[in-house]
Symmetry: C2
Subunit: 455 residues, 2 copies
């Protein structure tokens, strides 16, 4: 099945018509959530439910076979024992893609049942996501075929082997203003797994970076090959769990699968240019940085209005293998003309709290034109107590920046920083809540740039 045309998977993400088998008017059911979430979808959605007449004012169908339209994708959310029959009907209807939300297969030891639906799908050339998936989403077409809330639109595509973690990450990104292009909850990976998902996303023009939550892959060699080929086009970031003995035992109780020897994964990731991250935060932070150009070398300038946070950024830079070079006399002289006499112009450039729109605009222009500098990290504590507008720094940075060298920002923190963050995100400038996280994200960009230069 792995050799089938991967355009079939693309069609699952760009269907014109979707049938939800198990759509329900009962607000307590997953079949309600999915059907409700699909109301914004730009194509057609049909509810399938034998027992109900209408769902959200739409006429239901007893079976996909009763729908007088071609069906490009089905979402199946019915009790486990009815899945095979539903798939048979999909096959007869010539449906080519199915996302199976229904659980109760190999994840609770019922491998035979899972094999049966795989065989049924094969018979009709249906590609499967799941079972035990939380669904898929494509923000290009407002298709949220999951039981999770809508994610924000953005450039990251996220592939999760855990449905619950997928859900948790969507809640988090909505809250923090990080945007997704595609979302895939792989579930038990009875058919489509990481390799197929990566192949599809590598070719997807709205995906700038791919973030994976992985517990284990089945075919390691193929994964390396597919991932490496993808890395030549765009970055893959991974959070691989089951890293430790305790974690790998937990993987085994969770899915019955093996986490495998962690050092083997580590080597495979390095070979394939896959950037490994250690936490949920660092996975998303790193994925978000790839709205930026690559880095030529590793010289970073820190631009800040607050001494302490600037120092923390400098510490993190060195920890991540960056240089924080003292700026040339020529650049320092230009900065001095712009800034208060109490500003520091070495690096970190500390503008002092008095600097606003004009100063930030000029500083960004001066720093991006310095050939000794490869990236800018701007670290701002939004002042609430002096005569500087809340978004002045953000606007200065946006207006001054020529988009050539990578730029990451940290706006600290909480509610007072949110307006600036939203403003920056709209302009494709990643913004993080702490200096450490901003610099760490930039280091993913540097790691990937280096890998690309070497491969």
């Amino acid at each position: 099945m792995k050799d089938q045309d991967s355009s079939q998977i693309k069609e699952m993400f760009y269907p014109k018509t979707i049938a939800v088998i198990g759509a329900s008017p009962d607000k307590k059911k997953i079949g309600y959530e999915i059907f409700k979430n699909l109301q914004k979808f730009t194509g057609k959605v049909y509810p399938v439910n034998k027992k109900e007449d209408t769902i959200l004012d739409q006429k239901t169908f007893d079976s996909v076979l009763d729908i007088d339209d071609q069906i490009d994708l089905v979402i199946i959310a019915i009790p486990v024992n009815y899945v095979k029959t539903a798939l048979e009907e999909c096959g007869k209807k010539n449906v080519k893609g199915a996302v199976i939300i229904s659980a109760g297969f190999s994840e609770i030891g019922k491998k035979g049942l899972e094999e049966e639906i795989v065989q049924t799908a094969k018979k009709y050339s249906i590609r499967l996501i799941g079972p035990n998936s939380a669904g898929i989403a494509n923000n290009d077409t407002s298709m949220n075929a999951t039981f999770i809330m809508d994610s924000k639109k953005g450039h990251i595509s996220f592939v999760s082997q855990s449905g619950a973690l997928g859900a948790a990450i969507i809640y988090k990104t909505v809250y923090e203003g990080i945007g997704f292009s595609k979302f895939i909850s792989l579930g038990n990976m009875a058919d489509i797994g990481f390799c197929e998902a990566i192949e599809f996303l590598a070719a997807d023009k709205n995906t700038k970076s791919i973030a994976l939550y992985m517990e284990g892959v089945k075919d390691g060699k193929r994964f390396i090959q597919v991932a490496k080929s993808c890395s030549k086009k765009k970055p893959i970031l991974v959070l691989k769990s089951g890293k430790t003995r305790a974690g790998s035992q937990a993987v085994s109780s969770h899915t019955g699968s093996l986490a495998g020897n962690d050092s083997i994964y580590d080597t495979a990731f390095k070979q394939a240019g896959v950037i490994r991250t250690e936490t949920i935060d660092s996975l998303l932070d790193a994925a978000d940085v790839f709205s930026q150009n690559h880095m030529e070398r590793n010289n970073v300038v820190i631009l800040t209005n607050a001494g302490g946070p600037g120092i923390l950024a400098a510490d993190e830079c060195e920890k991540q293998g960056f240089n924080v070079p003292t700026l040339s006399q020529s650049t320092q002289n230009k900065l001095k003309k712009t800034l208060s006499p109490y500003a520091s112009t070495r690096n970190p450039v500390d503008t002092t709290a008095q600097a606003g729109y004009k100063e930030y605009l000029k500083c960004i222009k001066i720093l991006q034109n310095d050939n000794d500098i490869d990236a800018i990290a701007a670290v701002i504590v939004v002042p609430t107590f002096i005569q500087i507008g809340m978004t002045e720094h953000a606007r200065g940075i946006i207006d001054g920046w020529n988009k050539k060298k990578p730029l990451v920002t940290c706006f600290m923190s909480g509610e007072v920083a949110l307006t600036s963050k939203n403003f920056l995100s709209t302009n494709s400038i990643p913004c993080y809540p702490s200096p450490e996280r901003a610099v760490k994200a930039l280091s993913a960009l540097w790691k990937f740039s280096r890998w690309k230069n070497e491969n």
Copy 2:
């Protein structure tokens, strides 16, 4: 001056009367922000300003000498050149504590000017915080003598050498629901420094943990002595910047002071039981965990409703030196009676997404009674799509817990988790946004417990 009675510092945090020298009706001025923030203070506040008649409907005074009341604390926010005269007047008025917000002293190289005000203060036995301080706050008496927003009330006291970072951290904690008891922005530390702050906070009954942001200390030996004596009572957490070469050069440009050799700090912290953290997040996360009892040994059970996040918690446990032991057959049997047949009971205990209030109540009771377990980490993805109330897990945990063994929680994530988090925080149960951060915070408790056992 260091030998004076430290009760004088306590009086600065528990004044009955405060004068704000430089209080202003001009909303663009720091003297306005401070005076406005002090309106909620339970004692009396007097505005001092020669040029104005009233501020926020209160009659102003030309000098502290004109106030017909004893003044326990003054906050000075006037241009640098007037500070000495103002201090002289405070001395004549027999004021014993002054917080100097005014900047323009040693931080911009004017060491002589700073020495003058130190000598003036000495002459009148006034203790000084600052200059170049962002102020001090005490949530016991609703005293916010800073130009920053009000922090939430809680058990952490926070001492910052950087005013801007202090402000940023207050914004952050308000947003994330973390609470402070006292806040001290030390500024240039012309008089009161880390040692005096720690001595005061060690004796303060509403402070359960002390969080420091430090760029450098002046008297290392005394710091070790004071910190060690404090650690025997309550934990000190530190974020020490200037750790790397780049960071230490940045410290030197920031304050003109020396960050010093980092390994010396590291050794000093270890000797004194001070727990060093690496990021702003981990400083606050660790400080927040000390609403809990100490840990006897290092055996942790993970209780979760979501496989993936449970595995990430297990990985982080092992990384932090915890055991994640397989539960005894007897405990597993008890759990099995409570949970669905598809639950996993080894460790992590995965209740599956179907478990709600009743199951969490029972699981917590069973796990806290297991003598092989020393702490519980509960990792929950709040379900939004099944018939389980949003706060069921939180209520089950709160109602089941007997408060004896440490308990940390992670509720993932974003807005859907906030209600649970607030609910848990009100019940003194720390709640973190990711499994990694919950486990890392617990490890600070374990490090401190171990240090206390050995010292």
